[in-house]
């Protein structure tokens, strides 16, 4: 095969305590489409950031054309001919298409040459086999068109390695096929295309080689002809035995707490059907773009459902706003603690009472600080939040303790149905086990829990049943006694249909 352009040798990267990459190796050759697959959190995005100069590796070596190189920043990576394209393209909404394409071009001279630039832009767009008005402001482009702009930008800089991160996750089938055609064409022109995707069928269509990564490390690299979907899935999920959590016995009752039929949000997800029983833990599995969070947001009224029915305790309800959801006993613990979960500079005490301030109001609307403190202290003991006192800012706590404060906030509402979105993302193993126990306790006391998780061992240990989603569709529900990681992954990647699974 052709010569090697870029090599990663034993690259490690750690952020404070967590190791995002451990001795990762990768070799990219000119003219190949190199697919990279791995679970959520396997280290793909960190690897991209190392290659594009955003992060510097903690140890290891990057070689370009056989020479060891240090990428001092994004500019250096671009000069070396390495460009990346993201699921959400990096465009400048206020600039037009031509300006967007040539924004990082060098040696352009002092003056803008709009006519010349537009001609060059048209030529690039045509070379990609697309038609696009290059004088249009980028704010008016569709997602697919914005990606075309990004590819054209990379081409304008004589790209040698083009990294495409989940490029088709939000595209329509037709747009996705066009994008794959472009990726293939670029490879034929000698570019090394790194193609990251959860859609295994895409990989079989265009990739020349496939690398599987897991837990920040390299697992295998094979020519596409020597691998199968089953093999890839097995390698993606295979873990050391030590990482498994003990299976906790279920406490599900026969009473249905939440009944969801044909739930849909137009153009986002559709056909979601399930019964959630009191005392049950139902897990939602799936990969990036499966739209699980959107189901949760619909149930919590943040982005209300456009079709389908929701019944809570046998009564049909319509949920148009989070307030309504809370009034009927639904709470939602967000995956994004920083943005949607906690007020980081505020104290534990204030965060605990945030969703239920009404409970703490006394005469004249004054806040009962003493009662607030008592409740916060009670939760601190019950949830084992490790902190000297409840006055300190939540932002200073560890991830696991932050998660517990968030739980306290919602448990204080005494919900009947609790939706957890990635409850253990980014927290250490010990805290994970504690959070699992809390979820279990909640269910045992008669609550109904819905847990969205990308962590397969967690799903296996925690869930009484698993609902698997893929690209906005429900792929199946597997009872925990029948579930294996491979089965879930096969559904999540679309390698197995509903009938075979159940």
């Amino acid at each position: 095969m052709a010569e090697t352009i870029l090599e990663l040798l034993d690259i490690s990267k750690s952020f404070e305590m967590t190791h995002a990459l451990k001795n990762m190796s990768l070799e990219l050759k000119a003219g190949e489409v190199h697919a990279i697959v791995g679970e959520n959190g396997a280290g793909k995005s960190t690897m991209i950031k190392i290659m594009t100069g955003v992060h510097k590796p903690t140890s290891g070596e990057i070689r370009i054309d056989g020479q060891a190189r240090t990428l001092s920043g994004t500019q250096a990576a671009r000069e070396a001919g390495i460009a990346a394209m993201y699921q959400e393209p990096m465009v400048f909404p206020d600039l037009d298409v031509a300006e967007n394409i040539f924004i990082s071009a060098r040696n352009k001279g002092l003056f803008l040459k709009p006519t010349q630039q537009r001609q060059a832009a048209r030529a690039l767009v045509t070379r990609l086999g697309m038609s696009l008005d290059v004088e249009l402001a980028a704010s008016g482009l569709t997602l697919a068109e914005q990606q075309i702009v990004e590819i054209a930008r990379a081409l304008s800089e004589d790209v040698r390695v083009l990294i495409m991160d989940e490029p088709t996750a939000s595209l329509s089938a037709y747009e996705a096929s066009q994008l794959r055609r472009i990726a293939k064409t670029l490879a034929q022109e000698g570019v090394a295309v790194v193609y990251i995707s959860h859609r295994l069928e895409e990989i079989f269509e265009i990739a020349d080689r496939v690398t599987v990564i897991r837990d920040g490390g390299h697992i295998s690299t094979r020519p596409i002809s020597e691998t199968t979907a089953d093999l890839m899935i097995a390698e993606m999920v295979g873990r050391d035995v030590g990482n498994y959590f003990a299976k906790i016995p279920g406490t599900a009752t026969d009473t249905v707490a939440l009944k969801v039929r044909n739930l849909a949000v137009d153009d986002v997800f559709e056909g979601v059907n399930f019964d959630l029983h009191k005392g049950e833990v139902l897990c939602f599995s799936g990969l990036v773009g499966a739209r699980r969070t959107d189901v949760a947001l619909a149930l919590f009224g943040v982005k209300p459902a456009t079709r389908g029915t929701i019944e809570v305790n046998g009564t049909a309800v319509e949920i148009r706003h989070p307030k309504q959801a809370m009034d009927i006993g639904i709470a939602y613990v967000s995956e994004d603690r920083r943005k949607l979960g906690l007020a980081m500079p505020m104290s534990i005490q204030s965060n605990t009472s945030l969703a239920t301030l009404g409970k703490f109001l006394r005469r004249f609307g004054l806040l009962d600080r003493a009662e607030e403190r008592n409740v916060a202290e009670a939760f601190r003991k019950r949830l084992n939040i490790r902190t000297p006192n409840v006055d300190i800012a939540v932002g200073t706590l560890s991830g696991g303790n932050q998660q517990k404060v968030m739980l306290a906030k919602w448990l204080n509402m005494e919900p009947e149905i609790l939706i957890f979105d990635e409850p253990t993302r980014g927290i250490d193993v010990g805290a994970k086990a504690e959070v699992h126990e809390l979820i279990r306790e909640f269910a045992k006391a008669g609550g109904a829990a819905l847990v969205i998780s990308s962590d397969l061992p967690e799903v296996m240990a925690l869930g009484d049943r698993n609902l698997v989603m893929r690209e906005g569709r429900q792929m199946g529900v597997i009872a925990s006694e029948n579930a294996t990681q491979e089965k879930i992954m096969a559904l999540a990647t679309g390698q197995q249909n509903l009938r075979e699974a159940s």
Binding site: T52, Q75, R78, F92, L112, L141, L143, A296, V302
Partner: protein, 351 residues
């Protein structure tokens, strides 16, 4: 009509919309104020706009990069005083060294802002809120409670702003106004024709993408602040020439006026878009309203500020409505794809 619309860029449309609003306001005041539209009105407004245009341009450069410069008024005040005292002590200095001196001091102050914002990475609103007070205090200390007076200034300097270069009817085109317009035009040409200027817009439009595109954000933002300071310094020179008497309160409140002029002139306060020609018209618009209100008998002194605020809001609203009209006229042509909604933070997994 519609075909002509298609050919014009959104920026040009915005300027047309602003001019339309300006025209309506002039017509309105000419109805309620007797003897309104005459040469004196033009002369009065063009004189004060000469200074405002410069600082609105300075502010626009910074706002485009998604920042703000609240120290402009203090820089202008300090430069006016410092230049005044330099020429008081050295009456033989000609215009070139004086202008260079003003611009250099302004640029130095701008560089202080720039370092703190771009390299120390303190939000610009905090940095310039601090330096606004700081630069003003430096002026108080430096001036030692003295003032610059017109009598100490060389004759050419005092006469410069009011020198009539040419007249059209009663309208006198005075040197200060013409000079300011020329500066605005130069900056406008630079912003629209220079490659480097695209970086300013790119950073304001999407800072993350700008970083990914290999643009040196820190350097570019720093340069924007230095240029802003330099233009404020030039404004200080104009201020000295026009008023002659400079005290420690020179330029007080100009920072907010410059923001008002920019925003009224269609500069997006969140960065990424806007023109200095727009800012110039914005400055004229604010000044016309301000000056005319003084002469409008119906509005008492106490209500003047309120009416000014209301009219500014009204003209911004009118401008926004007009822009939408223009754009919908342009959109009439068939377009295959709808505009995608920007994905919100709530899109969890979609990211």
């Amino acid at each position: 009509m519609t075909r002509m619309m298609e050919k014009l860029s959104p920026q040009t449309l915005r300027i047309l919309a602003l001019l339309a609003v300006l025209l309506v306001i002039l017509l309105f005041f000419s109805l309620v104020i007797p003897n309104y539209l005459n040469g004196r009105l033009f002369n009065r407004i063009s004189s004060s706009v000469a200074i405002m245009a410069l600082i609105a341009t300075a502010q626009t450069l910074v706002i485009i990069t998604r920042n703000i410069d609240l120290s402009i008024g203090s820089i202008l005040g300090f430069v006016a005083f410092a230049t005044g005292s330099l020429v008081t002590n050295n009456p033989d200095l000609g215009p070139v060294p004086l202008v260079l001196y003003s611009i250099t001091i302004g640029a130095c102050f701008g560089a202080i802002n720039g370092v703190l914002v771009a390299f120390v990475r303190v939000p610009s609103i905090i940095v310039t809120l601090g330096t606004m007070a700081l630069f003003r205090s430096v002026l108080v200390e430096y001036s030692d409670a003295k003032s610059i007076t017109t009598s100490n200034l060389p004759q050419w300097l005092v006469e410069f702003p009011n020198t009539v270069l040419f007249s059209i009817g009663q309208m006198q085109f005075r040197a200060a106004f013409v000079a300011a317009v020329i500066v605005v035009l130069i900056v406008h040409l630079a912003l629209t024709r220079l490659n480097a200027a695209r970086k300013l817009y790119a950073i304001g439009s999407n800072p993350e993408a700008a970083e990914m595109a290999g643009i040196n954000i820190h350097k570019t933002v720093f340069v924007a602040f230095v240029l802003s300071g330099a233009l404020a310094g030039l404004g200080g020179f104009m201020f000295l020439a026009r008023f002659g008497t400079i005290t420690v309160v020179a330029g007080l409140g100009f920072e907010l006026k410059s923001v008002a002029a920019s925003v009224v002139g269609g500069v997006n306060i969140f960065g990424g878009s806007g023109t200095v020609i727009g800012a110039l018209i914005g400055a004229i618009l604010v000044d016309v309203i301000e000056t005319s209100l003084v002469r409008w008998q119906l509005v008492s002194e106490f209500w003047r500020e309120a009416v000014l605020g209301a009219l500014i809001l009204l003209s911004v609203a009118a401008d926004a409505v007009l822009m939408r009209r223009f754009i919908s006229l342009r959109r009439k042509r068939p377009k295959s794809d709808p505009i995608p909604e920007k994905t919100s933070v709530l899109d969890g997994e979609a990211r």
